[in-house]
Amino acid sequence: MNPVNYLYLAALLFTIGATGVLIRRNVIVVFMCIELMLNACNLAFVAFSRLHGNLDGQIIAFFTMVVAAAEVVVGLAIIVSLFRSRHSASVDDASLMKL
């Protein structure tokens, strides 16, 4: 088997995550989907690093994780305060951008 398949898998996961972002209304789930996409990317990076035979890919993945962690922290904090303010976890309720 060629490690390229990892890339295909990554692509698939990424797409699934993206679709999830589009179709789910629950903020938390949406957020999870984003995480899924990030992980897919990580997988791709790792696969790349293997293909190229150096560790930079892994480094990037590592940083991605860190950033993801930070993002999750902030994101969840936002969700919580959002829920506090309006007792709902639906993204569609936050549609104030409508003109």
Partner: protein, 287 residues
């Protein structure tokens, strides 16, 4: 790269890939399809673990571990906390409100997938260099040497980012007290002057569900909100079983009448050996 270049991986890895890969995809699909957030979270966790395995298989030992520890261990748990906070049982409907959104989403998804596949296909990587050489000095050391030399600035900045994120999270979630905290004295006085001198009544006590979400019944059989925890009240997760209770009662009396061939069920004696009856009745009712 003599000797390092290879065309295929070991069959073992191939097998592992196909099996776990399938599972991972299923997990991902479940993540986006489950109606309850908590289920999604769990599926996602599973997928991530599988990814961790794949990292390991790809020679990213450090990352694999980190994936498990940080992601599945920390981040997903964080998710679960929040889910709990928001409400485990809260299942959001999957009916689409925005017109055409779902179709567009599906279209984009498919198109995107096809595109990516096409892109990867075009890339045409025949052979690949394994990480054997890179990992000679150990994977962690390799990473470390890179992080602290080449990517040191990025690393520092990430540190800063994490700090900021932490502070940010605190700021966001911290709630400013609007009024002065009450002293014990005030509380007690309040208690005495207020409506409930005794402690608040307990929630319903039928040994059915996790009973804290069932309002206790007042003598007339109507449920009292007061008995249920404030958070649950806010979430609207109070389960009103008063009607069930009354039905059960009626059924019970019915059956008692049949069995004891007593003309009127309202005799005092009927109440005497009623406890055991009630127990079994309740079991029946619970079936």
């Amino acid at each position: 790269m003599t000797g390092l270049a290879a065309y295929t991986t070991s069959t073992g890895e191939a097998f592992q890939f196909w099996v776990l890969g399938t599972v991972a995809v299923i997990g991902a699909l479940c993540t986006i399809l489950m109606r309850k957030a908590v289920h999604s979270a769990l599926c996602l966790a599973g997928t991530m673990i599988i990814l961790a395995v794949f990292y390991l298989a790809n020679g990213a030992y450090f990352l694999g571990i980190v994936q498990i520890v940080v992601y599945t261990g920390a981040i997903m748990m964080l998710f679960l906390f929040v889910v709990m906070l928001v409400g485990v049982t809260a299942a959001d409907s999957l009916t689409e409100t925005i017109k055409g959104q779902r179709w567009l989403a599906a279209l984009c998804g498919f198109g995107f997938a096809i595109l990516l596949f096409a892109g990867i296909g075009n890339a045409s990587v025949k052979d690949f260099n394994g990480l054997a050489k890179a990992n000679e000095g150990g994977n962690v050391e390799g990473l470390a040497s890179l992080i602290f030399t080449k990517y040191v600035f990025a690393f520092e900045i990430t540190g800063a980012l994490l700090i900021t994120a932490t502070v940010g999270a605190m700021v966001l979630t911290h709630r400013e007290r609007t009024e002065r905290a009450k002293t014990q004295r005030e509380r007690s006085e309040e208690r005495v002057r207020g409506k409930h001198l005794p402690p608040l009544p307990a929630p319903g006590v039928y040994a059915r569900h996790n009973a804290v979400d069932i309002a206790g019944l007042l003598p007339d059989g109507t449920p009292s909100e007061l008995t249920v925890n404030k958070t649950l009240r806010e979430r609207g997760q109070i389960r009103d079983v008063s009607t069930e209770a009354l039905n059960d009662l009626r059924a019970l009396e019915q059956r008692a009448a049949d069995r004891l061939e007593r003309p009127d069920p309202h005799r005092k004696g009927g109440g005497r050996n009623g406890d055991g009856d009630r127990a079994e009745e309740t079991e029946e009712a619970s079936k």
